[in-house]
């Protein structure tokens, strides 16, 4: 009887050990990722999170996402929590709320020996030694394409005998990192054309702030004449277009609007109230991040240190024919790629 008991215990122990071993080995085989980023409540980031989660799942990776409410102090705390827990992932994905203020946390992540991929905000001189690469949008390319689109619209206006090439800019807050890159690239793109910037207002992100900023800028620049408006993103521009319409301007005729990011209102382009936008897909950004993680895990390095998501220009004419292939191999239409009011 005793032998039977002992034999049974041995068998159970062996099975349990095998199970534990199998579990451990499978856990070891599965690449784990921790991503630090903004809140899913923000439309763009919400789609980005969906992108990284879906692509990670597709690749068989474990991913844990830590969201902060655009608050570097909160993100710093999350970093400390992850480090204190002691269970380090294979890769960190780092989208700092504030790249400069968050440098300490990035350094702490780097010190663990776990590779860090920075996303969304271009690396600067201070942080590039702590990361193995960058994935995300190119603020400069996006703004440059918007500038070229506006040049094109201005040239068409001139050819048709139109007059007036004054531009107002509805900006990101001037304290935001993307502002400098966007405004400089836009200015470079329109340099040498008839276009002339006569005003630049920063009220904040989103439609409501776009409306408020534009309303004040209209009051200021009305006498000079407003002929073009550049929105640093479409959400801001959507509010700006409402303010211009309320002030009596006919969009597309009196004022030509160009935006970026495609996070505003698709119908404005369909109606001809907005000349165009430059596409920036949060879905692509998420997918690209995971693709680069895979590349790094496999080869120990990236083919390119800087990796941009595509930013093609989209106008009324190309609205329904624009599509991009995702890093998962699928073809995505514009409604899936954009993050604002773009679904029918």
């Amino acid at each position: 009887m005793n032998y039977i008991h002992k034999a049974a215990k041995l068998v159970i122990g062996a099975v349990a050990a095998m199970g534990i071993f199998a579990g451990v080995s499978s856990a070891q085989a599965k690449t784990s990722i921790v991503s630090f980023n903004g809140p899913a409540g923000e439309a763009y980031i919400g789609k980005f999170i969906k992108g990284i989660k879906a692509t990670a799942e597709l690749n068989g990776y474990d991913i844990k996402v830590f969201e902060n409410q655009f608050n570097q102090a909160e993100q710093d705390q999350q970093v400390q929590q992850v480090l204190a827990a002691g269970q380090l992932p294979d890769v960190f994905i780092w989208w700092p709320s504030d790249a400069v203020a968050g440098l300490g946390s990035l350094r702490a992540l780097h010190k663990t020996g776990v590779p860090v991929l920075k996303i969304n905000q271009l690396p600067n001189e201070q942080d590039k030694k702590y990361i193995f690469g960058y994935a995300g949008p190119d603020d400069r390319l996006r703004a440059r394409n918007a500038g070229y689109m506006m040049r094109e619209a201005a040239a068409a206006k001139k050819a048709a005998g139109g007059k007036g090439f004054n531009v107002i800019v509805l900006s990101y807050p001037h304290s935001y990192g993307g502002y400098g890159l966007s405004i400089n690239a836009f200015k470079e793109a329109i340099a040498g054309s008839d276009l002339k910037i006569i005003g630049d207002v920063d009220e904040g992100f989103g439609q409501a702030n776009g409306y408020k900023g534009a309303a004040k800028q209209i009051a200021k620049s009305k006498d000079q004449g407003i002929d073009f408006v550049y929105g640093m993103d479409d959400a801001i521009l959507t509010g700006g277009i409402k303010a211009l319409e309320e002030a009596g301007y006919t969009m597309g005729k009196d004022v030509i609007a160009v935006g970026t990011v495609c996070n505003g209102d698709k119908q404005l382009i369909e109606e001809g109230k907005q000349f165009g936008t430059t596409l920036q897909s949060p879905l692509h950004e998420g997918q690209l991040a995971i693709k680069l993680v895979g590349e790094f895990i496999k080869t120990g390095k990236l083919a390119n240190y800087i990796n941009f998501t595509p930013n093609p220009a989209v106008t009324k004419e190309t609205l329904n024919t624009t599509a991009l292939r995702g890093y998962d191999g699928k073809l995505y239409g514009i409604n899936e790629l954009c993050s604002g009011a773009w679904s029918d």
Partner: protein
């Protein structure tokens, strides 16, 4: 018990001026004169500030925050401090409205749907506050609850409804050259002030706000008052949400949040408006007209600074300074009044 209600229109300034001269120290008078001088200098030297078009812009800019501030004033006057859930209530209601609109229910049903949610939100908070809950804690909790529901409901996506739609008249329409949202702000400001001054309910708001014990002794419990004022504030938030959704034909839970820019957080801006208007944070003293003027004043200063080419940083600073200034001046005035009494 000291229950005061200011007079309407031009009469509003009369008690302020007389109080300044009768009750206030030289310091207060100097501060007000200095501030007024800076404001007037800025206003008259800003290009296009004094044009009709720009003045309409100032009022329109103040409208959304002003309507919310009017609702919140009822809460503050009744001695229930502030609702820290103003923007989250608006976030939930804008999602409700846009979801109903996008499902094709039309303006009227979508409006009612959103308002029912606002009333439920107001009643819930009022009930908890009236039963003794701390207004700050209750409304912080409610803020998380409402935002979470809105976020979950919309899956954090923008909910849009195509133009033309039945809500455009509210969002982009105008009446006698004024945007309908501006007209709504003016009408709501007048109706709210009349309700406060000439109805039993209005008098009870002041009574309970000034002295809760006296209110209880005369049969006016804070429970029903808290429910009423919280509901008014929530309904005002919902109206702003609907008007904004009608303007941009879409909704997102974050439409009233901004971590950057001069507008900052909507709830904070609404509280700032009530404070700058000079309403007593302890209740019992103030008016909705004061809050409306607070909204106009903040809007005017912000507008003037944009015309002077200030970016968002200094403008945020200006709003902060206005709150501090307002608190100091009104505190000194009230202290002077109490000393004389």
């Amino acid at each position: 018990m000291n229950v005061q209600t200011p007079t309407l229109g031009i009469g509003l300034f009369q008690p302020i001026v007389s109080k300044l001269t009768r009750h206030s120290s030289g310091l207060v008078v100097a501060m007000v004169v200095l501030f007024s001088a800076v404001f007037l200098y800025g206003a008259f030297t800003a290009p296009n500030f004094m044009t009709l078009f720009n003045l309409k812009t100032v009022i329109r800019d103040a409208a959304l925050v002003g309507i919310m501030a009017i609702g919140l004033t009822f809460v503050t006057l009744s001695g229930n401090f502030f609702l820290l859930s103003m923007k989250e209530t608006a976030a939930l209601c804008i999602i409700a409205f846009a979801t109903a609109m996008s499902a094709g229910y039309g303006f009227e049903i979508s409006f009612l749907f959103s308002m029912v949610i606002a009333i439920a939100a107001g009643v819930l908070q009022g009930l908890l506050i009236g039963l003794g809950g701390n207004p700050i804690v209750v409304t912080l909790g409610a803020a998380g609850l409402f935002f979470g529901i809105g976020s979950f409901w919309s899956d954090n996506l923008v909910v849009s409804f195509r133009r033309p739609h039945g809500a455009e008249w509210l969002g982009t329409g105008s009446f006698l050259g004024l945007p309908n949202i501006t007209v709504a702000f003016i009408v709501i400001a007048i109706v709210a002030e009349l309700a406060l001054r000439y109805t039993n309910f209005g008098r009870q708001v002041y009574l309970i706000g000034a002295n809760r014990a006296a209110g209880r002794a005369t049969g006016h419990e804070n429970l029903s008052m808290a429910i009423k004022v919280c509901t008014i504030a929530s309904v005002c938030s919902a109206f702003v949400a609907i008007a904004f959704a009608a303007q941009v034909s879409s909704a997102h839970v974050n439409y009233f949040s901004s971590s950057f820019g001069s507008s900052g957080d909507m709830t904070i801006l609404v509280i700032a408006t009530v404070m700058v208007g000079g309403n007593s944070i302890m209740g019992g003293y103030g008016s909705t007209i004061r809050s409306s003027l607070g909204a106009l004043f903040i809007s005017a200063v912000d507008n003037m600074m944009v015309l002077h080419d200030f970016n968002s940083g200094p403008r945020v600073l200006a709003v902060g300074l206005m709150i501090v200034f307002s608190i100091i001046v009104f505190a000194l005035i009230n202290r002077g009044r109490r000393v004389q009494e």
